[in-house]
């Protein structure tokens, strides 16, 4: 089953999504900041990363840039409340594959994961 790195500083969001995605068989690791995301990415090597933007220490755009520098094949989907056009362009330039605007229905999140990695792992 696919490995998912879930990056969000909101404990409630992570708790809800970990519960939802775990129940569908995904292997999940969590990170609360962009810095934690970069560190966890290197040890966990997820199939896909779900990345918030607004976070303390390091935001999701910078973390995306750093992760893509480490692994040019990294699949990163931004999941953020800030859906302005400029933000989407900046995220794509940083290397994000897709951009979902919160609030996100968890079922749509699963569809997005399956779109990029299938049900079993990196496509």
């Amino acid at each position: 089953m696919a490995k998912v790195l879930l990056v969000d500083d909101a404990d409630f969001m992570r708790m809800n999504l970990v519960r939802f995605l775990s129940s569908r068989g995904y292997e999940i690791r969590e990170a609360r900041t962009g810095r934690e995301a970069v560190e966890t990415y290197q040890s966990f090597r997820p199939d896909i990363t779900l990345m918030d933007i607004t976070m303390p220490e390091m935001d999701g755009i910078e973390a995306t840039r750093l992760i893509r520098a480490l692994d040019p094949d990294a699949l990163i989907v931004i999941v953020s409340a800030m859906g302005q056009r400029n933000m989407v362009i900046e995220a794509i330039r940083a290397g994000a594959k897709d951009f979902l605007v919160k609030p996100v229905d968890p079922r749509n999140l699963v569809q997005t994961i399956e779109k990029y990695v299938g049900a079993g792992g990196k496509a």
Binding site: D11, F12, M15, N16, T54, S80, A81, M87
Partner: protein, 154 residues
């Protein structure tokens, strides 16, 4: 482009329309110039703003409104307030802040949000740094929340 109270009031009207689509009544309360003090409520979420503007977005809830909103995001209307409430309300503030960012982008104003903070107390008093301040009263399942925008041009 610069922010005006007219733009901020239009932003609240737009949010009120979006609330109406989910059956929530919201009534803009007008604008105030100068530093504003917010009082009342038992939970408050504050989202700082950076970029073209400075200031903050604040949501102040009474207990009932906090419970209803928390129940909505947990998909459990019978839920009680617990240790996850503040985190859930912060996320609601973040999402609402995102809607405001997208609205202001139409006026050429590019802003980012800072990570939300929350405070809890019987009689909250918040001082917001914006020079222009608009407020909207939101009626939620028998409770009340106040949405405040306090923004200034950089």
């Amino acid at each position: 482009m610069t922010i005006t109270t007219q733009i901020m009031e239009e932003c609240l009207r737009q949010i009120a329309l979006e609330f109406a689509q989910i059956g929530v009544t919201a009534q803009p309360q007008g604008s105030v110039h100068g530093e504003c003090k917010l009082t009342g409520g038992t939970y408050a979420t504050v989202v700082g703003v950076s970029g073209d503007l400075v200031g903050a977005i604040a949501l102040v809830y009474d207990d009932r409104a906090a419970q209803v909103v928390y129940g909505a995001v947990k998909f459990d209307p019978e839920t009680e307030l617990d240790e996850w409430t503040e985190s859930a309300l912060k996320e609601v503030g973040n999402i609402l802040g995102g809607r405001i960012c997208m609205f202001l982008e139409r006026f050429g104003l590019n802003i980012s949000l800072l990570p939300p903070t929350s405070v809890r107390g019987e009689t909250l008093q918040l001082v917001m740094p914006g020079k222009m301040h608009v407020t909207m009263r939101v009626s939620i399942g028998g409770g009340t929340a106040l949405l405040h925008l306090a923004l200034a041009n950089r």
